[in-house]
Symmetry: C2
Subunit: 289 residues, 2 copies
């Protein structure tokens, strides 16, 4: 692992699981000089300082990013544009802004017009996370062997893109580049759709009122595992549903067709078609084990 300083000064806006873990990973690799933690909540910032996630804290974004070489926005998706508008005018020439938002098209479209001459923006998304949040949840190995998708646009500076790629690779990620629309459609399929399905399933089952008792009490391990993602943060998922609306609607409709096919085969008692439907699914699933 290199001990050359890659980022003399790093600013993390939103020192939670995503931002805090990148700071810890880069510190562990010895490639970062000073890390500034920027956020609204003082308690979380003080905890981040105490835990050594960051070296300095401030609640003032303008001051915090003033001499940063790289700024990571790691706040909820719907706040990214506003945060970008607050930090961009204060970034020094040659500095790079990147983000970790799980939707990229709407974010890139909103932020790019705000980027001043001489400052660069690279939209990104590390595919990692746990159900925990806050600075206390951060750990240096969160990104080991996880994918990070960078979504350069026609405007993206190649040098800035290379820097952000090296940063995520240093943190342990396998970095993949693709266009923003492809990112949003793929994440819509493998992440956003399953969350929508899990939330809908829990609501459908828990509102089943044919019997007086709460039938969820009969659920065994399978149901609990299957619906764990329905425990995710409602605000985060509301924001994702709104910002990745078109790709998500496309995937929900594909899923509805798949379920409708299964339903018709159950209704028609199509023994062979049912077996084939379940087998195909099992084979696809087992291939990614």
């Amino acid at each position: 692992m290199s001990n050359q300083i890659l980022i003399p000064k790093l600013a993390i806006v939103g020192v939670g699981l995503i931002g805090g873990s990148l700071a810890l990973a880069l510190k562990a690799a010895g490639v970062v000089g000073e890390v500034v933690g920027i956020g609204r909540g003082l308690a979380n910032l003080e905890k981040a300082l105490e835990l050594g996630v960051v070296d300095r804290i401030t609640q003032d974004p303008a001051e915090g990013v003033a001499d940063a070489d790289l700024v990571l926005l790691a706040t909820p998706v719907l706040t990214l544009t506003e945060m970008a508008s607050r930090v961009l005018p204060h970034m020094k020439p040659g500095a790079v802004l990147t983000d970790g938002g799980s939707v990229k098209g709407s974010v890139a479209r909103a932020i790019e017009p705000l980027v001043p001459e001489g400052v660069h923006f690279v939209p990104g998304h590390p595919i990692a996370g746990t159900e925990k949040s806050g600075a206390e949840a951060a750990f240096a190995t969160l990104y080991h062997r996880r994918r990070c998708i960078l979504t350069p646009t026609a405007q993206t500076d190649p040098e800035a893109l290379r820097l952000v790629r090296r940063v995520w690779e240093t943190a342990g990620c396998e970095v993949v580049e693709m266009d923003v629309e492809k990112h949003d459609r793929i994440l819509g399929a493998i992440s956003h759709l399953p969350h929508m399905v899990a939330y809908s399933l829990v609501n459908a089952v828990s509102s089943y009122d044919r019997y007086e008792e709460n039938i969820l009490e009969y659920s065994a391990g399978g149901f609990r595992d299957f619906t764990r993602i329905a425990s995710s943060d409602p605000t985060m998922w509301r924001d994702i549903a709104l910002t990745n609306r078109d790709a998500l609607l496309e995937m929900i409709e594909r899923f509805e067709l798949s379920l409708a096919e299964l339903k018709e085969d159950i209704r028609g008692e199509k023994k062979d078609r049912l077996y084939d439907f379940f087998l195909r699914s099992k084979q696809s699933r087992d291939a990614i084990l």
Copy 2:
């Protein structure tokens, strides 16, 4: 734990995870005399004998059940009626037949007319299982703190019902009694529907052909956990889909309405309704953690 013999002779038809684990649990509790393992596959039976899951094995159901006090059918749902027809004529007066099938209405309706005078049938369903199968998968504590649902009908002998209840309680289950229709609707909701949804989801995502690569390769832990149940045995789930058809169709339609509500709120960008939908689901889910 009592050391009184509850079942002098127990016959298990299908010595897999379900049947084998009951045998081991009753042996551990010291309440069973001899256990006879009955099945088609000699290799599995010999393994069961070698592991001490059963004391004697036979491939002849008629001979195996001849002097059994309790016979458990633990074969796939669609085979239960045929197995019942093969063992019932050979059971001794006063003996009790029970089963562990995950669908109860169609099974009870098919088996009850076959029960000879003096022999008793108690339909049952222990809600337990892992993704493994075969005698080697069996273990004595599978049923600890799991629910077992017994579904007596108008024909069920109260004394036989009491015996089967004691057997499952001895194995560690909390035993609940309910009518067959209620069982099938509840299991349709909390078990069968989630499996149909998982299979449909994997098929919808894996058939997404907008891009050349297999987008499942981008899936992270959430998708893998969420779709684990789509790796279940296609034959077993085909049989469940066919035998619990009406309850399952009802639940699929409830789920479709729930998803359609969510889809319309995404389409209409109903911020507050989306938040409420996700929050309600999270609260129901967290209540069963």
